[in-house]
Point group: C2
Chain length 332, copies 2
Amino acid sequence: MAVKLALVAEEADVSLPTVSKVLNARPDVAKATRERVTQVLERHGYSIRTRPRTATGLIDVRIVNLDGPWSETVVRGAAAAARRYEKEIVLTVDPDPDDCDGWVRHALSRGTDGLLSVVAVPSEPARAALTEAGVPFVAVDPLHRAPEGTLSISATNFQGAFDATRHLIDLGHRRITTITGPVDQDNGIARLAGYQAAMMQAGLPLDDDLIVRARYGVEEGYHAVCALLRRDARPTGIFAASDDTALGAIRALREHGLRVPADVSVIGFDDVPYSRWNDPPLTTVSQPLTEMGAAAVDIIIGALQGRSAAVHTELSTRLVVRQSTAAPAVER
Amino acid sequence: MAVKLALVAEEADVSLPTVSKVLNARPDVAKATRERVTQVLERHGYSIRTRPRTATGLIDVRIVNLDGPWSETVVRGAAAAARRYEKEIVLTVDPDPDDCDGWVRHALSRGTDGLLSVVAVPSEPARAALTEAGVPFVAVDPLHRAPEGTLSISATNFQGAFDATRHLIDLGHRRITTITGPVDQDNGIARLAGYQAAMMQAGLPLDDDLIVRARYGVEEGYHAVCALLRRDARPTGIFAASDDTALGAIRALREHGLRVPADVSVIGFDDVPYSRWNDPPLTTVSQPLTEMGAAAVDIIIGALQGRSAAVHTELSTRLVVRQSTAAPAVER
C-alpha cells in the first residue's frame, strides 16, 4: 500500500503529502497538479474522494504509562489547543512504548480527525494507512525520528544540554560529569551530544570517566553517583540528563557527605513541577511541554486544512537557574 | 424535567434510578415494577425506549486544570479501567471547577456511555438530563456532596486525617497543629474533622491557636508556618492537609532555623510522587487515586448493566511513614 502511494508520488513528481491531499479531496493543491496526480492515482487503481471525510471532532492522543508529569503536561497542552479548535481529545494510556499500530487502526476504523502520540511511532504499514486515509499524525518526542516525512515535534534537546553544560562552565567548573539518558533514544543522544559540544567548545577534555551512562530516573541518578564516587576523579559539577536523575544524584551526594552546591553543583533537565520546591531548588533546563502538546494539535489542524508543516519542529528549551549550582569550591 | 421524573418515581413508588432504567430500556428491573413504572411514565407523556441506546464506546472524563499530578493520576486509573471494558476516554480539561453543565450537554448530544468528573458536579437541570437519558455520571472527590443520589467516590478523608494526627500522638506529640485545606470543600472539612477527632480521643486540648486555616498549596503552607511561628505556642508536630502544604511548611520551618523532624515533625496528605524523594522523605497519607479513577469507571459500567451502586463510595487511604516525623525533642 505504502509502496503504491510512493510510486504514485514519484510518477506524478510530487511529495507523498500532496498525493494524500489529492486522494482525500483536501484543499491547497494547484489545479494542474491535482489533475495530474488524480490521473496517476486512478491508473494505480485508487478512487479519489469527491469531498473530504466528514470531521469527527475527535483527535486521538496516545501516551505511554509513565510515572511523573511529563506526558500528562503534553496532554494538557494538547487538550487546551483542541478546545480552541472545538475538537475533543480521545485519550489512550498504554504501557507499551513501542507498539501503537493497534491504536492507529482502531482510531481509523472508529473515525478520527488526527493522531498525536507521545514517544511511540507507528510502524510503516500503519503510517501508510494514515497517509492513505489523509489523517494527520504527529509524534511528540519520538524515541527515534521516523522516516518518510512523519511529522514530529520535540524540545531542543541538544541546545538545552549545551546550555546546561555551558552554565556550569561559566560558573568556573572544569571537571564536569554528565549522567546520560538512554543513548538508544534520540533525546538521550542529543543531550549527550550537547554536553560534549559545550565541553569541546570550552577546550575541556572529554574524559570517559566523566560520562556515566544511565537511563532517566531517580534510582538511576542515585546509583550513577555512587558509581562515580568510586572512580578517581570527582567532578565539581554534574549535568544530569533529567530532573529525576538529578534528584537521585543529589540524594547520593548527600549520603556521601557532599553538599549541593557547596561541594558539587547539580543541574537537571525537564523542570518538572517539583524541581523548584526541592531542597535546594533545582537548576534545570525547562522543556516547553504544554507548548509541544499545543503545537502538535496546531500541526494536525493545519494539515487538515492543507497546510504543510515542517517535518520536524523543535521548540526551545530554557535554562532555569535556581540554587543547586554555584562556583566550584576553591581547591586547597 | 427533573420535577416530572421525581413525580414519576413518587407515584410509582420506586427510586429515580429505577425510573431511569425503565425509561431507557435498561435491564435489571422486575417485570411487574417495569410495567407499573411504564404506565406512570406514559401518563406523564414520556416515550419508553424499546431498546437501550447503542453504546458509543466512549466515556467522558472532565478534570479541572490543576497544577500537579492529582487529577491526572485519577485519569490514568480511569483510562486503564476503560481499556479493560474496551471503552475510550474523551478527556476535557477545564479551568473552571464549578460550571460543567456545558460539558454534560455536549457529551449527551454527541453521544456517550458515561461521564466522570473530577471535583466539579453538574447543576440540577444537567443531572436531570443525564437521568432522563439513562447516562451514568460519577463525581470523583466532589467539592460538595450532590443531592438526589448523584454517584460519587472519594478517599476516606476523615479517617486519613485521623490516622495522620494519631501517628503524631503515638510518637509522643501533644502540641499538634493542623494547616487546613479549604473548609468550604468536603475534603477540607473532613480532614479538619479527622484531626479534631484524634485530638479529642487522646484528651488533648483543641486550641484555636493550633488550627491554621489555609487552602492547599506550597505557598499556603509556607505562609501558614510563618504565621504560626509568630504566635506564642510553637507546635512540635504539624499535620498539613496536603503534601504541597507540607512542602511549603518544611521550607518555612527551615528558614526559621528549625529542623524536620528533629525540632518539628511534619506529616502531609496525598502521597504525590515527589513526596518520597523530598529531603526528608515525607511521611504522609496516601490517596488511592488510580483506584478511584478505576472504581468510577467500574460504577459507570455497572450502572449501564443495571447494577445499582452505593450513592457514595470511599476508598481507604493509607498511612505512609517516612522520615519527616519523629518523637518530639526532649524539653529542657
